[in-house]
């Protein structure tokens, strides 16, 4: 199963303070361990939200809101994508992570949906079958 590992933003990360050399080295070592254990699929760090934007959906209306955003603790400063056997394994790995920030910080773990997860909302496979039909239709038109 896959987990999205979300590193939460802090005041410093939102201020755009770059990590110290020491922390960079520690994180690099940790990343190396993840890669060597074969569990890391991807990972990136994010610029502060001041460089980001949001798009709000309300019926047909779309509103663009520029960053920065106020709720620092709810923002994401970086992420990993891991492939592990269980949530417990992801937690075990996470406990070995150096604190990614100079201050108190938090990392959140969220499981990524798998095809099987949709089985409950698509018990007969109808949605998937429809999808296939649609695809066949597009292709016959093209052909």
């Amino acid at each position: 199963m896959k987990f999205m590992v979300l590193v939460k933003a802090t005041k410093e990360s939102e201020a755009g303070t770059m990590p110290s050399e020491e922390m960079l080295t520690a994180m690099m070592k940790y990343n190396e361990e993840l890669v060597k254990a074969g569990i890391m699929l991807a990972g990136e760090g994010l610029h502060p939200s001041s460089k980001g934007a949001r798009i709000r959906f309300s019926g047909p209306k779309r509103t663009v809101i520029d960053g920065p955003f106020a709720e620092t603790k709810e923002l994401v400063a970086g992420f990993w994508l891991w492939q592990v056997k269980s949530k417990e394994e992801a937690i075990e790995w996470l406990k070995r992570c150096p604190n990614p920030m100079n201050e108190d910080s938090e990392i959140e773990l969220r499981q990524v949906f798998d095809a099987e997860d949709f089985a409950a909302s698509d018990p007969t496979g109808e949605v998937r079958r429809k999808e296939e039909e649609l695809r066949a239709l597009t292709e016959s038109r093209r052909g």
């Binding site: 254990a37 074969g38 492939q83 075990e92």
Partner: protein, 440 residues
């Protein structure tokens, strides 16, 4: 934490730590069986103590310390025994006994080397292929005997037996715990790759049972492959195999229909392909090709898989290139199965008649007699050529040969379709959308 939560946490720690633990202990006691026992003892101690004391902050170190104590006890006992033997006047080979001070250094030393040695010992040629697979999953993948048994649909005692016998064989053959050098290294690496790919393939298209794919097994193989790539980063074929597995795994979601039926490559919904895994696969392939200008067998297969991965629709598949790659692969490692795939690619590139010619030559091949894909491919080509009666016979034969229930269903359906109302297709039309280019 409840007791069951603690147990799950311990299991997770075990998955992460067991290989390193066993590798380190093996170097110490020079016996992989004993090392695993020591590691298991530490696990049992954790299972006893952690529910009461809580999971320690550094559970890996705890397990290591606990196992190390046991190892030292063992060695002391052995040394005492040897001294006793000497006292009794026995002429013993002067074995370089480790002093206790050396033990710490010995066990904390370069983890990577130990792991690599463990890889080579679990895939050692003195063991049968089945034993290599079981031992590798157990020692390196951290799988339990029960998990291995479930994955390969064999009774648990059988797997347990295999592992016990494998460890005994290694001990009796005095297999050294070392990384082979020179030309032997390459041969041994390819034996390791074979084991990993075998595990992957069993997950990718199960040879028997009710499920067409077992993704968990693919994940285990991929993880082992990625670990190996980290251990021997200069070996191009390791990256070739990882590339092949990443790209194939990217299709797992698309490979099974809503009711568990297999969906063949050209019929798959490519929107379901995992682009992240494809990207990882393509970069591993690039790495392999950079390391060596000449492709090995896995890199060849990865290059073929990459052709499919790069095609946005089945129609955009570069069949002439795939056929050329199969020709290269066939020259490098001639095999009837590769010939069969080459025939398929050629028929896609240049029409079914050409493919059929090649397949007909393969029907006499003894090693393909029980291989269900031969009649399956032949049936497909006959179907395309409008020879429906013959096609039906081939599909039926293929269905009778496969041991996988899902696959049998699909083949019988195709046979029925031949009898029912053959599609009004122009025979021998150039590349069309559907063909069983399954596997690799």
């Amino acid at each position: 934490m409840t007791a069951s939560e603690t147990h799950r946490a311990i299991h997770a720690v075990w998955r992460i730590e067991s290989a390193r633990l066993i590798a380190g202990l093996t170097r110490l006691v020079r016996d992989v069986g004993l090392a695993e026992e020591l590691a298991q003892d530490a696990l049992v101690a954790a299972l006893e103590q952690w529910p009461k004391s809580g999971v320690p902050d550094n559970p890996g170190a705890w397990l290591m310390a606990s196992a190390k104590h046991r190892a030292i006890d063992q060695l002391r006992r052995k040394q005492r025994l040897e001294r006793k033997h000497e006292e009794l006047g026995h002429e013993l080979e002067t074995q370089q006994a480790l002093s206790v001070q050396d033990l710490d250094a010995a066990i904390d030393d370069s983890v990577g080397d130990d792991l690599l040695r463990l890889v080579f010992i679990s895939c050692h040629p003195v063991l049968s292929t089945e034993a290599r697979v079981a031992l590798t999953l157990r020692l390196l993948g951290g799988l339990t005997t029960e998990e291995i048994a479930r994955a390969f649909l064999v009774p648990e005692p059988t797997v347990a037996q295999r592992i016990v016998r494998a460890k005994r064989t290694l001990a009796e053959a005095h297999v050294p715990f070392e990384v082979p050098r020179g030309p032997e290294l390459e041969a041994r690496v390819s034996s390791v790759l074979e084991v990993i790919y075998l595990v992957f393939n069993e997950g990718y298209s199960a040879t028997a049972g009710d499920d067409w794919v077992r993704p968990a097994l693919c994940e285990d193989a991929l993880r082992l492959g990625r670990i190996l790539a980290g251990l021997v980063p200069e070996e191009p074929e390791v990256h070739g195999l990882v590339a092949l597995m990443e790209i194939q795994a990217s299709r797992l979601r698309a490979r099974v229909g809503p009711s568990g039926e297999p969906i063949l490559l050209l019929d798959q919904n490519r929107a379901l392909w995992d682009q992240l895994l494809i990207r990882r696969g393509l970069s591993a392939l690039a790495r392999a090709e950079t390391l060596s200008p000449e492709r090995g067998p896995y890199t060849f297969q990865a290059a073929i898989a990459a052709c499919h991965a790069r095609a946005r629709t089945a129609e955009q598949t570069d069949w002439p290139l795939i056929a050329a790659l199969y020709t290269g692969l066939a020259q490098l490692s001639p095999s009837p199965v590769i010939e069969l795939n080459r025939a398929m690619a050629l028929s896609m590139a240049f029409g079914p008649a050409i493919g059929l010619q090649l397949v007909d030559e393969l029907t006499e091949e003894p090693s393909l007699q029980g291989y269900h894909l031969l009649p399956s491919v032949r049936g497909d080509l006959l179907f395309k050529l409008g020879r429906y009666d013959e096609a039906r016979g081939e599909f039926e034969r293929a269905a009778s040969l496969t041991r996988n229930a899902r696959e049998k269903g699909v083949l019988l359906e195709r046979a029925a379709a031949c009898a029912r109302d053959p599609l009004p297709q122009p025979p021998s039309s150039p590349p069309e959308g559907k063909a069983p280019t399954r596997r690799r």
